[in-house]
Amino acid sequence: MLARADQGLRQERDPRSRPQPQRARVRLRLVETRSDSGRKSLTRIGTTVSIALLFAAAFVAAAAHALVAQNQFRLNALQAQEAAAASQEKALQLRVAQMEAPQRVVWVAEHRLGMVVPTKVTYVQASAPVSSPARVQGRA
């Protein structure tokens, strides 16, 4: 280490060495051009936005998936409800049909309401002649 320092001293004292004009040493530094700066900031923004978009997309995808799952559950529940309602409708239709069954109607009429079958049917003659219909009509 000392040897190296002596050598440097000798070089300074060397008469052969021409005097150099004192020039201000220009310090070089990296200068960012405007475009470089813009590009960098754009890149940064782009990266940020991309990441944000990525997160947003992931969030949207997750939210959509959750929504689909939620709607799927809702759909399943509605389908089950629909099936139950349809089943209940059929059961009620059956109940109505059972209530309308002639044997039940007759039983209720005779036993609960005390009705009796008429022994004679009386037809009321219209003032104008009434002809028999040629075809069977009406509810039977």
């Binding site: 059961a91 049917v121 002809s131 040629a134």
Partner: protein, 569 residues
């Protein structure tokens, strides 16, 4: 220089790598498809989506048969943790004994039915128990809300849900619909994966049938028939009521007596039971003779007390001396000898042709399962006595529906109209697709039909064989039949066993409905005594139900009405 230990280690490593590589090739390449399918089968859950069978309705939309969704409750005993504890909770709900359910839940199997065709509310209560190892399968049950009403016409289903008899069998493919299929990607817990595979082929519900039957008239027919079968100690009875102009069957009933207990039969005898008709067959001979101008209603014929034909002696139901009777009197009194005298004028071929023209020996066109065409033998196969027996309804086999079709033809002015039971098909959307009107063809001229109607009115008159068929206020035309039953074990007939028939239509001058009533082995034996009153009761009810008023007093020609118009002829 590699040491033996390092060598062994390398060999083991290389060997292991080779085994793994080999297994990889085996799994990924050779067995890839198999494992892929295996994986899919674990992820995919396929299910059959049950469809619902279409209903059968009457002419007014009243339900005669319908299917209702139900649930089958089953168990996988391997997953049942405590059979006795679960059975204690299930037994009161399912209405079974705890011991029997414990036995089922302890079975060494993976599937046992605990209860089939359970209703919604009970299913929910069982589900709410949250018991492990229980499962629920969708099912349907077929109901007849009117009990046994028209049971023989409707038929029934087998355990698999397919029709085995009657209309349920005839229209099975239409009523049954088509079950659907679903394939869903499921998670390990069996729940559907959102966004996963979800393929659904929805079930196609069965179409319904709207019949021409009227619930009210059908009920009345069954009741009246059952009452008469019981009163006359008959073995069975059948009745059909039809709309004269459209051929629509309004009621079709079969009643049987089993050891004195009378009930509705599951068979449909009016279409499937063949019997010798007796005197109702005389209409063919009279029609032919009128069409060919061999007789008129007032033509007088000499009727001896008996007639020997081909060695076989024919008699009338009531013994009498030689009489001179008009053609009208012959049919009104149902004289066998008189009819045979007319048949002789017509000839064997003529009698045969007229019998077949009225539809005897041919299918009715309803296509009902097991429907009989009857038996009418061609003249070439007739015995020497057949010209006597065939015109009076022996040696032939008919169904009650064929008999009604023949008389309905007369009521319809000589125009044969094919009968109908199914009015149309009700689509799953509830819309009725009506069937085209039935085919018709002329059998006898209208004038001959009118003449025959007048002659048949006398059957119900005071001098006829069936005054009991009269309906107050209306004129009735018809014919009785009292036929011996052929023996099934030997030649000849069963002594004392008869088929009693009455067939007719009302109002005679403006016919709206026709009906036939047949009793098997009744006491008394005569159609006019046992079948005619049922005809009167059922048709009287049908007229009121269909709101067909009595003809105006001036237009009525019969004697049986309460209007008191004298019997002409």
């Amino acid at each position: 220089m590699v040491g033996p230990r390092l060598f062994s280690l390398r060999a083991v490593a290389i060997g292991t790598a080779l085994i793994l590589a080999g297994r990889l090739v085996q799994v990924q390449l050779l067995g890839g498809a198999t494992y892929r399918n295996y994986g899919r089968s674990q992820m995919m859950q396929s299910a059959v989506l049950p469809t619902i069978r279409g209903p059968i309705l009457d002419r007014n939309g009243a339900v005669l048969a319908m299917s209702v969704p139900r649930t089958d409750i089953y168990a996988d005993p391997r997953q049942v943790t405590s059979p006795s504890a679960e059975a204690a909770k299930l037994a009161p709900l399912l209405g079974e004994s705890q011991a029997s359910i414990t036995t089922l839940l302890s079975a060494k199997t993976t599937f046992v039915y605990l209860k089939k065709q359970v209703g919604n509310s009970l299913t929910k209560r069982v589900e709410a128990l949250g018991l492990p190892g229980l499962g629920f399968l969708p099912d349907t049950t077929r109901y007849a809300p009117n009990g046994n009403l028209a049971a023989g016409v409707l038929g029934f289903l087998g355990a698999s849900g397919n029709g085995l008899a009657g209309l349920e069998y005839q229209y099975n493919s239409l009523l049954a619909g088509r079950p659907g299929h679903s394939t869903v990607q499921v998670d390990p817990f069996g729940g559907p994966i959102s966004g996963g595979v979800h393929r659904v082929q929805p079930p196609v519900p069965g179409s319904g049938l709207e019949l021409t039957l009227s619930t009210a008239i059908q009920y009345e027919a069954q009741q009246a028939l059952a009452k008469e079968v019981a009163a006359s100690h008959a073995r069975a009875g059948m009745a059909v009521v039809e709309d004269v102009h459209t051929g629509q069957v309004l009621a079709m009933a079969t009643v049987v007596s089993n050891h004195g207990k009378v009930g509705v039969s599951g068979a449909n005898d009016p279409l499937t039971y063949t019997y010798e008709p007796g005197s109702v067959m005389k209409i063919a001979t009279f029609s032919g003779a009128l069409v060919h101008h061999l007789i008129t209603p007032t033509t007088v014929l000499q009727v001896p007390p008996s007639l020997n034909l081909g060695g076989y002696v024919f008699h009338d139901a009531e013994p009498h001396g030689t009489e001179n009777l008009t053609a009208t009197q012959i049919i009104a009194r149902s004289s066998n000898i008189g009819t045979i005298e007319i048949a002789k004028k017509l000839g064997a071929t003529g009698v045969y042709n007229w019998i077949t023209r009225f539809g005897f020996g041919k299918p009715t066109g309803l296509g009902f399962p097991g429907a009989s065409s009857g038996i009418v033998r061609p003249p070439a196969t007739w015995s020497a006595s057949a010209l006597g027996s065939t015109p009076i309804g022996q040696d032939t086999g008919v169904t009650a529906m064929q008999v009604l079709d023949a008389y309905n033809t007369v009521a319809n002015g000589g125009l044969f109209v094919r009968p109908q039971i199914v009015k149309g098909v009700v689509g799953p959307n509830g819309r009725l697709r009506r069937r085209p009107p039935p085919a018709t063809h002329r059998v006898i001229p209208k004038a001959v039909a009118t003449t025959l109607t007048s002659m048949l009115e006398h059957v119900v008159g005071p001098g006829g064989t069936a005054p009991a068929a009269a309906i107050p206020g209306y004129s009735v035309a018809g014919k009785t039949g009292t036929a011996q039953k052929p023996s099934t074990t030997s030649r000849g007939y069963v002594p004392g066993s008869y088929m009693a028939t009455f067939v007719g239509f009302v109002p005679a001058q403006s016919p709206a409905i026709s009906a036939v009533v047949v009793l098997d082995h009744p006491t008394p034996i005569y159609g006019g005594s046992v079948a005619a009153p049922v005809f009167s009761q059922v048709c009287s009810y049908a007229l009121r139900t269909l709101r067909i008023p009595p003809p105006a007093a001036g237009s009525q020609s019969g004697s049986q009405g309460s209007g008191g118009v004298a019997n002409g002829g």
